[in-house]
């Protein structure tokens, strides 16, 4: 489903240039659960952001199914993300002004889905992550684990084929981490491809494929 060929990412600072990614090639098949792990600063987030089309590689090509991502414009990328990709972030990134429900509705809103249908699907997703009683709560009224579950529900709202998670458990305790991981595994088993970044090797057993990164390369 995903083919990254010889991807490099260089950040051009004042006088210094950092190579965050160096000649990375990666294949991910439909329905796989991939865990990328490595030390801090090795380029995991950079790779994930490129996969999520939020960032562009300096070199190399990225094919998603038959689409060459490099050839898409900003507005086309928005649409692409909306249709195909769900994001989960380490610090949840929920909109504070919105209730859990409204947060989950967001990708559906941008997909142009009407209010009733949006609400119905969002409620369903929140039920799935076990938050049927907290749908009207704002992020500040939820625990970290609950916030992450809202974020997961949100990432699944537009029924993406690829779910990208950047250290989704980084801010959570062990018990909650297990819950979240179980949830991700379940989502993966229902057919969604999951690529997850972590520096916690203990989570590797959830994955079908483990990618180890160091210094901007896959080792």
């Amino acid at each position: 489903m995903i083919t990254l060929s010889n991807i490099s990412k260089k950040y051009q600072g004042r006088g210094v240039s950092t190579a965050a990614l160096n000649d990375v090639s990666l294949r991910v098949d439909q329905g796989e659960f991939v865990i990328i792990y490595g030390k801090s600063g090795c380029g995991k987030s950079t790779l994930l952001n490129i996969l999520g089309t939020m960032d562009k590689p300096t070199d190399g090509t990225y094919h998603f199914k038959d689409t060459d991502i490099g050839s898409l414009k900003f507005s086309e990328l928005s649409q692409f993300r909306n249709r195909h990709i769900g994001f989960i972030f380490q610090s949840f990134y929920l909109i504070n002004e919105f209730t859990a429900l409204a947060n989950v509705e967001m990708p559906l809103g941008y997909a142009g889905i009407g209010k009733g249908e949006r609400r119905r699907r969002a409620e369903e997703l929140l039920k799935m992550v076990g938050l049927e009683n907290k749908m009207k709560n704002k992020p500040s009224q939820l625990s970290g684990g609950e916030q992450q579950r809202v974020a997961i529900a949100r990432s699944l709202a537009a029924a993406p084929s690829l779910l990208l998670a950047d250290e989704p458990t980084g801010n959570l305790d062990e018990k909650t981490t297990d819950d979240i991981m179980a949830l991700l595994k379940r989502i993966n088993q229902e057919g969604t491809t999951v690529i997850m970044v972590t520096h916690n090797v203990d989570l590797a057993h959830y994955a079908d494929k483990v990618v180890h990164m160091a210094d901007g390369r896959i080792v």
């Binding site: 952001n49 999520g52 928005s78 993300r81 990134y93 929920l94 809103g109």
Partner: protein
């Protein structure tokens, strides 16, 4: 689009504490603007209404000119200008219609008794025609008019005579004699059109019409030597009046080489100058309100800029969720739009209330739909202005870098 509106509505609700002040500010300013506009329109309408009423009509500017040269200062409460002055002004303003008249004192002409209630009036033929045209009478060499309140009006040639109502007047035994009550008077036109024995001067009236107007109620202060002068002058625009009066006064002063003093009252021009003063006040008022609105626009743009900066994370998340740049821009514009729209709608209501409540002005102030056009226009312009100011900021949001910083 629909989602953007809904999202903007949530954002307004969630930021209501900030926006409340903006709304209050806009409401107050708009209210004042609406009031100013309503007052201005009403003043304009009032002046327009008066102009229409007086359009092409003579206005009787009743002036009590006091000429010291002719009447002696302080001696008598005399007022009026001399017939010469009157004729001079009439000549000067002949293009404004010949319908001035001049009232002589009756007692200087007639003995006690029969004619006590009569005044000798000098006027143009047109004037008499218009005033008494319908009641025109013709008795050979005697021409006459009868009109409401005028009793009868008779003339033997150049002069005319009006008897007061209730006074019995009929043609006497001769065609040029009149029976007034029981007494028969031979009416010699030459008596009147010749020398009029005014106490102050001998005045010759040539080919003029004279009229005795009955004065039923003697105005206060009118005495034996009172001479009332009425100049009726035709205006295109009644706002000319004050200027014209000033001009006439200057002419009279010049004519009497400075020995001419006067006092006058002119209700209409007082009214106009008051209305115009109010109008100026309103204009200043509404100018200040407009300046306030511009200041408010800058303030709102500033607030929005801060909000945009604070929300970069939200925008980055929105991009990750598949938002287009125009989604974000629309959301922001809708947001400002809702706030400004609410402010201006409330302001219109406030303006309406203020308009209904205010009773200070000299004329009725009415609220009309037109009064809200400026506020409504501005409520469209402020979001546009804000948009122009903040959209570069929105455009500059780089989703990736923003996410990393937060």
């Amino acid at each position: 689009m629909r989602y953007s509106i809904q999202k903007a509505a949530v954002m307004v609700r969630e930021n209501i504490k900030i926006y409340l002040w903006v709304i209050v500010e806009l409401t107050l300013i708009t209210g004042v603007l609406v009031l100013a506009d309503a007052t201005h329109r009403s003043a304009d309408r009032e002046i327009g209404r008066l102009s229409e009423i007086y359009q092409d009509q003579e206005i009787y500017l009743i002036y009590n000119f006091l000429s010291e040269e002719y009447f002696g200062a302080g001696e008598r409460a005399a007022c009026g200008i001399t017939l010469q002055d009157f004729m001079f002004l009439r000549e000067r303003y002949s293009d404004r219609g010949a319908f001035q008249y001049y009232v002589y004192d009756h007692l200087s002409l007639y003995e006690d008794g029969v004619f006590q209630e009569m005044y000798l009036v000098w006027g143009s033929e047109e004037f008499f025609e218009r005033q008494f045209g319908k009641g025109r009478m013709d008795f050979g060499s005697l021409k006459g008019y009868a009109g409401p309140g005028a009793g009868a009006l008779l003339s033997g040639g150049d002069a005319m005579l009006v008897a007061s109502p209730g006074m019995e007047i009929s043609i006497g035994s001769q065609p040029d004699s009149l029976l007034i009550g029981d007494a028969e008077y031979r009416f010699e036109p030459a008596d009147v059109s010749g020398t009029i024995p005014l106490s102050q001067a001998n005045i010759i009236i040539d080919s003029a019409w004279c009229l005795f107007l009955p004065i039923e109620e003697r105005p206060e202060g009118w005495g034996q030597t009172n001479i009332g002068t009425t100049l009726s002058i035709c205006f295109e625009d009644f706002r000319e009046a004050p200027e014209l009066i000033q001009e006439m006064i200057s002419l009279l002063i010049e004519r009497h080489e400075g020995k001419f003093s006067y006092r006058h009252s002119d209700v209409l021009s007082d009214y106009i100058s008051r209305a115009e003063a109010i109008l100026n006040e309103i204009d200043l008022f509404s100018f200040i309100a407009k300046v306030c609105l511009c200041v408010a626009a800058f303030g709102i743009a500033g607030i929005m800029m801060i909000l945009v900066r604070r929300r970069r994370k939200e925008y980055a998340i929105s991009y990750a969720m598949g938002a287009h740049k125009w989604n974000i821009c629309m959301e922001l514009l809708f947001e400002v739009f809702m706030v400004c729209g609410t402010g201006s709608v409330l302001g219109c209501l406030l303006g309406f209330l203020l308009t209904c409540l205010q009773t200070q002005s000299a004329f009725p102030v009415q609220f009309s739909a037109g009064c809200v056009s400026v506020p409504v226009l501005l409520s469209l312009l402020i979001p546009l202005f804000t948009g122009i100011v903040i959209l570069p900021d929105v455009n500059a949001v780089n989703p990736m870098e923003t996410m990393k910083c937060e």
